[in-house]
């Protein structure tokens, strides 16, 4: 089922169509690179947390940047219709750029800014380029938008329904001044805004070049062909899954649970493109909470698409064709679809749980594809007390083991990301009053099993100035569970290390905890769950673990 992209596999594919498809993907990729390169927030430039997409005026996702978080393309796709509702196509003028962050209109949370720029064909907007990044600060209780005590959305930061941020004359200065005045790091915010617009502009320029080379009709035909082709392929893939309804659930540290029913149905015969479709229903999921653990609908949708795509041909492109055969039911007011004024900033624990719930459901359909649960992104932000500086980062948990393999270390199962989103030590120290004293794998943190869970990491950050810290972790009280008799991974946590070396735990959702100069923040991520009976582990694998120090002799006995 999983064949890597091989250009020789489709000898009849029309070369022009293929060039066009790739040109669209490259344009989105280039836009995200431009955003990353011209942005100011360390989080973006070192961690490459930016996304870009090309959509059409009907709101269909055409292409997106593949090197960034996959989940973000779902938010860009979800938000565009709300922009069009506020600013009808007919009233749009060339050079205009629109901005939003509203979690109830496809956004994510205050700090994630979404930008859209129309591309005109024959005087009317026909396509949109979109970019998205997490900006350093846009007000809210804590710098960096990480306050876990934000009981409503207004405490998370400045709320932006769809607004016009630029016209052909340049940035809308009044609005920029308001935004800058509401940021603890105004220069970075304005720089990041420019970067977002620059990315959207570059993609728009590429799109115009594509139109020059292929004509507007050629592009429209190519886009239709691309999306239909993708839809046909994913439907065929879904048809290979056993029909039926499968239930799954997964819990958060606070006891709330995400419940899902995944129904795979054969498509109606004769429909074109034909093939199966899937209904993902979160009915029975717990209600939203007055704290930032909820997810807005667009991020849940991204998580659902990611989870489903783990069970189909991984070489499928991510565009509208993938979304069409999937119906997602997200009860309003639940954890997976929060409503005003419930906050959405801490959504990734919920999205991760929704994904684990889908994995659990599909494991019932395909038992041999089962995996143990994984440690997730563990976010934290450190901000200066005396002067404004900000370090935001994620550390990654170990992944769960499967029937065939050990879990990878410290990679984070979600979103298909990798370690490349964790900043290196030297750039952090060159920019910020922090010293990184340790980044290491934690021995014995992977859940035992026939296959061992991936290891978590320990990062020690020493403060060189007085600072305060916000944390945002999950799967720390209820560590990632094992599967098929495997043990759970070791629970991670956040700690304050005093200058004398004494270590005291910080809450997994701590807010503005003081760290004095000389004290350190210790972040430990959870290990992944193990798979199968530990007694069945192959002796050579154990020997290698001992030699590498992934497992210690004490733990073994």
């Amino acid at each position: 089922m999983s064949t890597p992209a091989d250009p020789t596999a489709e000898p009849t594919a029309d070369l022009t169509a293929e060039i066009l498809r790739n040109a669209l993907c490259v344009a989105a990729e280039e836009a995200s690179i431009v955003v990353v390169r011209s942005a100011y927030s360390t989080f973006i430039v070192e961690g490459a947390d930016a996304a870009a997409a090309i959509l059409d005026a009907a709101g269909r996702l055409v292409a997106h940047s593949a090197s960034t978080a996959l989940i973000q393309c779902a938010s860009l796709r979800s938000a565009l219709p709300y922009v069009l509702e506020a600013f009808p196509l007919t009233a749009m003028a060339p050079g205009e750029v629109f901005l939003l962050n509203d979690v109830y209109q496809g956004g994510i949370h205050a700090n994630d800014l979404l930008i859209f720029r129309p591309v005109f064909v024959n005087g009317a907007p026909a396509y949109f380029t979109g970019t998205l990044i997490h900006v350093a600060d846009l007000s809210g209780l804590s710098a960096g938008g990480m306050a876990s005590d934000a009981a409503d959305v207004l405490l998370e930061g400045v709320q932006l329904p769809p607004v016009r941020i630029a016209t052909a004359d340049g940035l809308v200065d009044d609005l920029v001044r308001v935004l800058a005045a509401n940021s603890r790091t105004p220069e970075k915010l304005v720089g990041d805004l420019r970067a977002l617009i620059a990315g959207a502009n570059v993609a728009a320029r590429r799109l115009e070049e594509i139109i020059d080379a292929h004509t507007a009709e050629g592009l429209a035909r190519g886009v239709d062909g691309y999306l239909t082709h993708t839809e046909r392929r994913i439907r065929a893939e879904l048809a290979a899954l056993p029909e039926g309804t499968y239930m799954g659930e997964y819990g958060l540290d606070d006891g709330r649970r995400i419940r899902v029913a995944v129904t795979i149905e054969a498509g109606p015969p004769g429909a074109a493109p034909s093939g199966a479709h899937v209904v993902v229903d979160f009915d029975g999921t717990d209600e939203q909470a007055a704290s930032p653990v909820n997810s807005g609908f667009s991020q849940t949708l991204g998580g659902v698409m990611y989870a489903l795509r783990c069970f189909v041909d991984p070489s499928l492109p991510m565009n509208e064709g993938c979304f069409v055969p999937v119906e997602v039911r997200m009860p309003r007011g639940s954890l997976v679809n929060c409503t005003w004024p419930y906050p959405g900033g801490g959504r990734w624990a919920t999205v991760a749980a929704a994904e684990e719930a889908i994995f659990a459901a599909l494991t019932r359909a395909l038992p041999e594809r089962g995996v143990a649960a994984s440690g997730i992104l563990q976010g934290f932000s450190i901000s200066g007390t005396a002067r404004p500086w900000l370090h935001m980062s994620f550390d990654l948990g170990g992944m769960g083991a499967s029937a065939e393999r050990d879990g990878p270390d410290a990679t984070g199962a979600l979103f298909g990301g990798g370690r490349n989103i964790v900043p290196q030590v030297e750039p952090i120290e060159a920019r910020l009053p922090l010293r990184v004293e340790e980044v290491s794998l934690i021995p014995d943190s992977g859940g035992a099993g026939r296959h061992r869970g991936g290891l978590g990491t320990r990062t020690v950050l020493r403060m060189l100035e007085d600072a305060q810290v916000d944390t945002r972790g999950d799967r720390l009280r209820r560590p990632p569970s094992g599967a098929a008799g495997g043990a759970a991974g070791r629970a991670g946590g956040y700690y304050r290390e005093r200058a004398d070396g004494a270590r005291e735990p910080l809450d997994a959702k701590a807010t503005r905890q003081p760290l004095r100069a000389g004290e350190a923040l210790v972040v430990e991520t959870s290990g992944g769950g193990g798979y199968g009976d530990p007694a069945e582990r192959v002796p050579e694998a154990l020997r290698k673990d001992l030699a590498d120090g992934r497992v210690t002799p004490r733990e073994r006995t």
Binding site: N22, V26, S67, S315, F359, G416, E426
Partner: protein, 713 residues
């Protein structure tokens, strides 16, 4: 000036000599894998004899080798120990990998093993700050203990990367001394501040350890080669091709082996760019097909693409350039794609499906038709059966069509239930499809339309496949340079001696252009440039004061510039002359301009310098212009007016066969026909027309009426 250029590939060793008269002599010999110098020396002896040149008359010896690549791909390097700052022993195991393509959706993908196992990774107590200040002195006792552990670990080389060593290399240097003193004499101990002193510990570490991994193998090889050349009487300095298209002195190539990883492939792209430029063609796709692999590279506006982060063993396709997927090496390299399909690739049937490669018959036993004991059918065997090759062979020996037929009959035709010729045609087509993948990666995959480019054929097997490959992509123009069969080696003849050195230099541009503080900073930058220049000159074996040398070295100084607070810098060249306030002002203006052009943002915020970089180029001495191409005496077996049965359009037809050397300037070729030369056989399919230009190159063009818009059926 007499130059010898040599390219050792997986199957063939190519040798090219240009004499004082500008005339070129070539030889192609089989590579001798057990000791590549054997085949190389044989080729050199032949070419010297043909040119009537005494070994002592050779002024320059340029060498391209796939040794470093092969050592890495086949994991044949020496066991390396890695030493870093305490607290970061997991650095390599954690890596900075991205999950791409199919791996993204694999919930338990298998990460690649770290390039150095944890069992040979060590940490020492020491710490330097980003400013270069020593926070914790190097614990020399602990360093000594680590050295003893390394000695007991079986490591044959050591790579050291300590945090912030780009800002202050003192600890790395001292640690290297301490460790070297406790290891057997001559064990390489490589410090990251010597190899690539730039911020970013992970890439600096991997670049360093790859140098340590490959260096000893490269050093041993080059020592042996030097000795053998001396034995032959060739005393010219040995230069080795580096990945970015320049050449390095042999001594340096051993110390900085990581710079030679793309040595061979880079030569082909450089050759293509040069051949195109001579004919006013600036948008080219180089297609270099040898016995074992095929490579494609893109030349736009006359310039080969250069990447600054090469991924060794990376995932995500063909050579693995996808960022974050392999082991990154931070040295400049020509950007290209490579597939494991060449003339020697073995055809086999896998459950009813015909496959070609990735196994290659190499030079030994070689294709069946070489009659050297090979029984497996290869692409070359198929080409021979189809009538595309001259049984007179490639200079050194004849090709046996009977053996080729037998091999194809047994291993392809019979399992497929097809005729021998049909099976051979299928092998030819499948090989074309695979090589098409390399071109696909550098063009279509990047949204670039290959149809506006000229495809340049280089390497022994390329001329036989190039036109059919062009048809697959609707490419209408093909350039087959003179001596295309040894095209990469020919490209080496004109490579410049070059070395790049860089180090972190962080300062606000405003400081450099301001009053008194600016003077100090300018003096510091001047000092850094001078130091880099001296180091680079030392690398190339040039005297420090270069004014009195015969050849003029070209020094290109550049700086990384970015807006304060940003992370990504533009590389901006400094104007010639002293480093002044005005020069920095010009650099800043140029940065603003480039930023506006790239991002469409017109910004004049404060900028800062990040890196000082020097590229020192010693241009290859101008060789005499090649004499105009004249038909000359043939030395192989093609008789004027000969016809040969060859497979075109699904049947055997009698097509004209011409010797390239017989073709005067302006000769018209009309497909179907075959043009042979000692190192290659050019296939001109129906629908193609060619002309021979003044330098003996063939320019093929698809006749408009026959040109197809897409892939050939």
């Amino acid at each position: 000036m007499i130059t010898l250029a040599t390219d050792v590939g997986g199957t063939f060793t190519d040798v090219v000599l240009t004499g004082a008269d500008g005339r070129t002599h070539v030889a192609k010999t089989l590579t001798t894998p057990r000791d590549p110098t054997t085949g190389l020396l044989r080729g050199i002896a032949r070419v010297l004899a043909a040119a009537g040149v005494e070994p002592g008359e050779v002024d320059r010896f340029v060498h391209a080798t796939t040794l470093a690549t092969n050592v890495i791909l086949e994991r044949r390097g020496v066991p390396v120990a890695f030493v870093t700052t305490r607290g970061f022993r997991s650095m390599l195991a954690l890596g900075r990998r991205a999950r791409v393509e199919e791996e993204r959706f694999d919930l338990a993908f298998t990460p690649v093993e770290p390039p150095v196992p944890l069992t040979r990774t060590f940490e020492v107590p020491e710490r330097i700050a980003a400013s270069g200040a020593v926070l914790l002195p190097l614990d020399e006792d602990a360093a000594g203990r680590t050295a003893r552990e390394i000695a007991g670990s079986g490591a044959a080389a050591v790579a050291i990367c300590l945090l912030h060593s780009y800002a202050n290399p003192a600890h790395e240097r001292r640690l290297a001394e301490l460790i070297a003193a406790r290891l057997p004499e001559g064990t390489p101990v490589v410090a990251s501040s010597e190899v690539w002193p730039e911020l970013g510990e992970y890439e600096r570490a991997t670049t360093t350890l790859m140098s340590a991994y490959v260096g000893p193998v490269m050093a041993a090889y080059l020592r042996r080669l030097g000795a053998e050349l001396c034995g032959l009487g060739v005393n010219a300095p040995v230069h080795v091709m580096e990945s970015a298209g320049g050449v390095l002195p042999a001594s340096l190539a051993a110390d900085r082996a990581v710079f030679t990883i793309e040595s061979g492939p880079a030569a082909g792209v450089i050759a293509a760019a040069r051949q195109g430029a001579r004919r006013g063609l600036s948008d080219l796709i180089s297609f270099d097909m040898g016995g074992t692999t095929a490579k494609a590279g893109l030349v736009r506006d006359g310039r080969p693409g250069v990447t600054h982060e090469f991924q060794v063993g990376g995932k995500g396709s063909f050579g693995g350039r996808r960022p974050g997927t392999g082991v990154p090496i931070k040295v400049p390299a020509i950007d290209l794609a490579e597939v494991g399909a060449g003339g020697g690739s073995i055809a086999w049937v896998d459950a009813g499906t015909l496959r070609v490669g990735p196994r290659s018959a190499g030079a030994s036993p070689g294709p069946a038709c070489y009659a050297r004991g090979g029984t497996r059918p290869t692409v070359t065997d198929a080409d021979l059966v189809l009538g595309y090759l001259d049984t007179g062979g490639f200079g050194e020996f004849r090709l046996d069509a009977g053996l080729a037929e037998d091999a194809i009959a047994e291993h392809v035709a019979r399992p497929l239930g097809a005729g021998v010729v049909e099976a051979a045609a299928a092998v030819h087509d499948v090989a074309n499809a695979q090589m098409g993948a390399a071109i696909h990666v550098v063009t279509v995959r990047r949204g670039i339309d290959p149809r506006t480019f000229t495809l340049v054929a280089l390497g022994g097997a390329a001329p036989t496949h190039v036109a059919r490959l062009a048809e697959r992509f609707g490419i209408g123009r093909v350039l087959v340079p003179p001596h295309a069969g040894v095209g990469s080696a020919a490209g080496l003849l004109h490579a410049d001696l070059a070395m790049e050195r860089a180090r972190t230099f962080a300062a606000p541009a405003g400081t450099l252009t301001s009053g008194s503080a600016g003077r100090d900073a300018l003096a510091e930058l001047t000092r850094v440039f001078t130091e880099l220049e001296h180091t680079a000159a030392g690398d190339l074996g040039l005297p420090v004061g270069m004014a009195d040398t015969e050849v003029e070295a070209v020094v290109v100084r550049s700086v990384g510039v970015r807006f304060v607070g940003q992370s990504h810098a533009f590389t901006i060249e400094l104007p010639a002359g002293p480093v002044t306030r005005e020069a920095i002002g010009q650099v800043t203006e140029e940065f603003y301009r480039r930023y506006r052009e790239s991002y469409g943002i017109d910004l004049r915020d404060p900028a800062e310098l990040t890196t000082a970089r020097v590229r020192l180029v010693l241009p290859a001495a101008a060789t005499a212009a090649p004499p105009a191409h004249r038909p000359s005496r043939r030395d192989h077996a093609v008789v004027r007016g000969e016809k040969r049965r060859a497979w075109f359009g699904g049947e055997f037809v009698d097509v004209p066969v011409r010797a390239r050397e017989d073709c005067a300037e302006g000769t018209e070729l009309t497909g179907p026909c075959i043009v042979t030369e000692p190192q290659a056989s050019l296939l001109v399919p129906p629908g193609w027309r060619g002309t021979i230009d003044a330098h003996g190159a063939v320019l093929l063009e698809a006749r408009p009426s026959d040109q197809r818009g897409g892939r050939a059926p």
